[in-house]
C-alpha cells in the first residue's frame, strides 16, 4: 500500500526499497520465531545440556531421539488423544449451535434479537477463568469433574461467541435474492440454510472451525482445574509432568510442546488468507 511509502529521492529509494523491506521482514520474522528456535534447539539436546550454566545456543551434544521417545511415551499419547477429542467435539458443538443462531440473527428481525446478540457479547466478558469456581461447583454437582464432557461443554460455550460473531457477518453478506430463489423453489428454511447458504459462506465456516479448534486445543485453566486424572489431561496440562520438582526433562517437554504447536501453526497457515478477510466480516458492519 502506498500510504506510508516515505518520500525519499525517488531514484535511490526506488532501487533500495525492495531490499530494505525484505530485510526488515526477515528481522521481524526472526523476532517472532527466535524463542521457538531456542525451544527446538533445546529439544535436540540431552536434558542435562539444557540446564548447563552458562547456556549455549547450539547443543553441546546433539540428541535426535527425544522426539521419538515422546511419541512413544504412553502418557503423551493419552494427552494427545484427549486434546484431539476435546478440540474436535467442542468445535462440532460450536458450529452446530452457532450456525442457526448466526443465520437467524443476521437474516431476520424478531423480538429479542438484540437481547440475544447482547447476551453473546457478554459471554465474551465472562472468561472461564473468572468463572472457574462456579464451573467447578456445577460440574461437581453433576458428577462431571474429571470427565471429557465437562471440558468439551466449557470450551464449546466459551468459543460460541466468536463463531456467532464471525458467521453473523458472513450470513449478512449473502444477497437476499439467493435465499428468496431457494424459497420459491420450495426449499424449507433449514434446507435452504444447509444446501444454499452454507456453501456460500464456506470461508466463514472454515475460519470459525479453525478458531474454535485452536482455542480448545490451547485452553488451560479449566482443564488444569477439572482434569485430575493424569491420563485424561490434555497435552497443554499433561506435559507439565515432564518438568517437576522430581524430574527436569526439558528436552522432552520442549519436544512435546513443539509436537503440540506444529499442527496449530499448519492450520493457521492454511487459513491465513481467510484470516485477513474473515476477521473484517465481523468488525466492519
Amino acid at each position: 500500500m502506498t500510504a506510508v511509502a516515505p518520500t525519499h529521492p525517488p531514484g535511490l529509494w526506488r532501487r533500495l526499497r525492495p531490499r530494505v523491506l525484505s530485510l526488515t521482514g526477515i528481522l521481524i520474522g526472526t523476532v517472532f520465531l527466535a524463542p521457538y528456535a531456542v525451544m527446538l534447539l533445546d529439544a535436540l539436546r540431552p536434558a542435562a545440556d539444557v540446564l548447563q550454566s552458562p547456556p549455549t545456543l547450539l547443543p553441546r551434544h546433539w540428541q535426535l531421539s527425544t522426539f521419538g521417545d515422546v511419541l512413544a511415551d504412553l502418557r503423551f499419547r493419552s494427552w494427545l488423544t484427549t486434546s484431539v477429542i476435546v478440540a474436535v467435539t467442542s468445535t462440532a458443538i460450536v458450529i452446530a449451535a452457532a450456525v442457526p443462531a448466526a443465520y437467524v440473527t443476521a437474516r431476520h428481525r424478531f423480538p429479542g434479537r438484540t437481547a440475544f446478540l447482547l447476551l453473546v457479547l457478554v459471554t465474551q466478558l465472562f472468561s472461564p477463568t473468572s468463572l472457574v469456581v462456579g464451573l467447578y461447583r456445577e460440574f461437581f454437582q453433576l458428577n462431571l469433574v474429571n470427565t471429557y464432557l465437562a471440558i468439551i461443554l466449557t470450551n464449546a460455550a466459551f468459543n460460541l461467541a466468536f463463531a456467532v460473531w464471525i458467521l453473523h457477518g458472513f450470513f449478512a453478506s449473502v444477497p437476499k435474492e439467493v435465499e428468496e430463489a431457494a424459497e420459491l423453489d420450495g426449499c424449507s428454511r433449514p434446507r435452504t440454510v444447509l444446501r444454499v447458504m452454507l456453501p456460500l459462506i464456506r470461508p466463514g465456516i472454515v475460519t470459525a472451525v479453525i478458531f474454535s479448534f485452536i482455542a480448545a486445543w490451547n485452553e488451560y485453566v479449566v482443564a488444569l482445574t477439572l482434569m485430575q486424572d493424569d491420563s485424561k489431561k490434555p497435552l497443554n496440562v499433561g506435559i507439565n509432568a515432564y518438568v517437576t520438582g522430581y524430574e527436569q526433562h526439558w528436552d522432552q517437554m520442549f519436544a512435546a510442546s513443539l509436537l503440540a504447536i506444529v499442527p496449530v501453526v499448519v492450520l493457521f497457515v492454511m487459513i491465513e488468507k481467510h484470516l485477513v478477510g474473515g476477521l473484517t466480516a465481523g468488525s466492519v458492519k
Partner: protein, 323 residues
C-alpha cells in the same frame, strides 16, 4: 443441528421476513410468530450459554455469599464477609495495582506495535508471505507453552537471554529477570506483549485491507504527504478495527491467566499477581484455600472487566461508529 424443521416451517409461514417491511409496521402477531420460530434456531446456543455460562455465574455468586470449610464444605451463609475479606486482604492493593499495570502496559504497546507491524505487512515485498506466517506462530502456540519456554529463556543460570546480553555488554552481570522485584513485572509484560501482538496485528491488517485503494488515490491527487494521508485517511478508516482490537485486547489481557501464573510461579506470596491469578490461588493454591473468598474475588473480576470495557467505550465514544 435443527431438531424440528417442520415446526419452524409451521411457526413461520409466508415469505422471509424483511427488515424494511417490519419497520413499516407488520402485524404484531406475525412478528411474535417469527420470534417463536427464531427461538428454535437460537435454542442450541441458548442452552449452551444458559448451562455453561449463566448457571456457573449464578453458582459463583451463590458461593460468594457462603462460608466454606478448608475442604470446600459449605458451613452456612457468610453475608458479605467474603467480599470484605477480599477487600481487606493485605495483598489486595498490590494485586489491583498489578492488574492495572498489566492491562495498560500490555495493551497500549501492543496496539502501537501492531499498528506499525500491520502497516508494514500490508506493503508488497518479496517474502511477505513467510513473514506473515512467522508472526502467526506465537498466536498459534498455547500461552502455557510459550510462558514455560520464557521461564527458561529468562532463567538466571540457564537462560539464553542473560548470555546474550552479557555477550553484547548490555548488562555487566546476569539479571534475575523473574526473581528480582525490579524486573519481574517488566519480564511478564514483555511476554504479554509478545503473545498479544500477532492477533492484534491480524485484526488491524484486516482493517487495512478493507480500506479501498481509491481513497488513497484521492488523497494523492489532493497532494497529501504520507503522514497527512495516514493521519487523516488511514487512521479514521481504521477506527472500527482499532476499537475491536482494543476492546478484545482489554478483555483477553485482563483475563489472561497462563502468562502471569507461569512466569510468576517461583515467587511466593501475591506481590506479582493480577486479580485473576490472585483469585485462582485463593481457590486452589493458597494455604487458606477459601472457596467463598475466591468466589467473591471472581465476581469482583467480572465486575472489574465490565467497568473497564464500559469506561473504555465511553472514552472513545463508540457510538460515533454506529451513526
Amino acid at each position: 443441528m435443527v431438531s424440528a424443521p417442520d415446526l419452524v416451517r409451521v411457526a413461520a409461514p409466508g415469505p422471509p421476513a424483511e427488515t424494511a417491511r417490519h419497520r413499516a409496521g407488520t402485524p404484531r402477531r406475525r412478528q411474535r410468530a417469527m420470534g417463536r420460530a427464531a427461538l428454535w434456531w437460537l435454542s442450541p446456543a441458548l442452552l449452551l450459554i444458559g448451562g455453561v455460562v449463566i448457571y456457573p455465574a449464578i453458582e459463583l455468586i451463590d458461593a460468594s455469599f457462603g462460608r466454606y470449610s478448608i475442604t470446600g464444605l459449605r458451613l452456612g451463609p457468610a453475608g458479605d464477609a467474603n467480599y470484605t475479606n477480599v477487600l481487606a486482604h493485605p495483598a489486595t492493593p498490590a494485586v489491583l495495582t498489578n492488574t492495572l499495570v498489566w492491562v495498560v502496559a500490555v495493551v497500549v504497546p501492543t496496539i502501537l506495535l501492531s499498528l506499525a507491524l500491520a502497516q508494514f505487512l500490508s506493503l508488497e515485498f518479496a517474502g511477505r508471505r513467510i513473514v506473515r506466517w512467522a508472526v502467526l506462530v506465537p498466536w498459534a502456540a498455547s500461552l502455557v507453552i510459550t510462558s514455560r519456554l520464557f521461564t527458561l529463556l529468562f532463567d538466571y543460570y540457564h537462560g539464553i537471554l542473560n548470555r546474550l546480553l552479557l555477550a553484547l555488554h548490555v548488562v555487566g552481570r546476569p539479571v534475575d529477570w523473574l526473581g528480582d522485584d525490579r524486573f519481574t513485572m517488566l519480564s511478564i509484560v514483555t511476554v504479554g506483549v509478545f503473545v498479544t501482538v500477532p492477533f492484534t496485528t491480524y485484526v488491524l491488517l484486516a482493517g487495512l485491507n478493507a480500506i479501498p485503494e481509491e481513497v488513497y488515490e484521492a488523497a494523492r491527487i489532493d497532494g497529501a504527504g504520507w503522514w497527512q494521508t495516514y493521519r487523516h485517511v488511514t487512521l479514521p478508516l481504521l477506527r472500527p478495527a482499532l476499537l475491536v482490537a482494543a476492546v478484545l485486547n482489554i478483555i483477553y489481557v485482563f483475563n489472561s491467566f497462563p502468562v502471569v501464573y507461569t512466569l510468576n510461579d517461583r515467587n511466593p506470596g501475591f506481590s506479582h499477581d493480577t486479580s485473576i491469578t490472585f483469585m485462582y490461588k485463593l481457590a486452589f493454591k493458597s494455604a487458606d484455600h477459601d472457596v467463598g473468598m475466591a468466589a467473591a474475588a471472581g465476581v469482583m473480576n467480572v465486575a472489574l472487566i465490565l467497568v473497564a470495557v464500559v469506561i473504555y467505550l465511553r472514552l472513545v465514544d463508540w457510538r460515533k461508529d454506529h451513526s
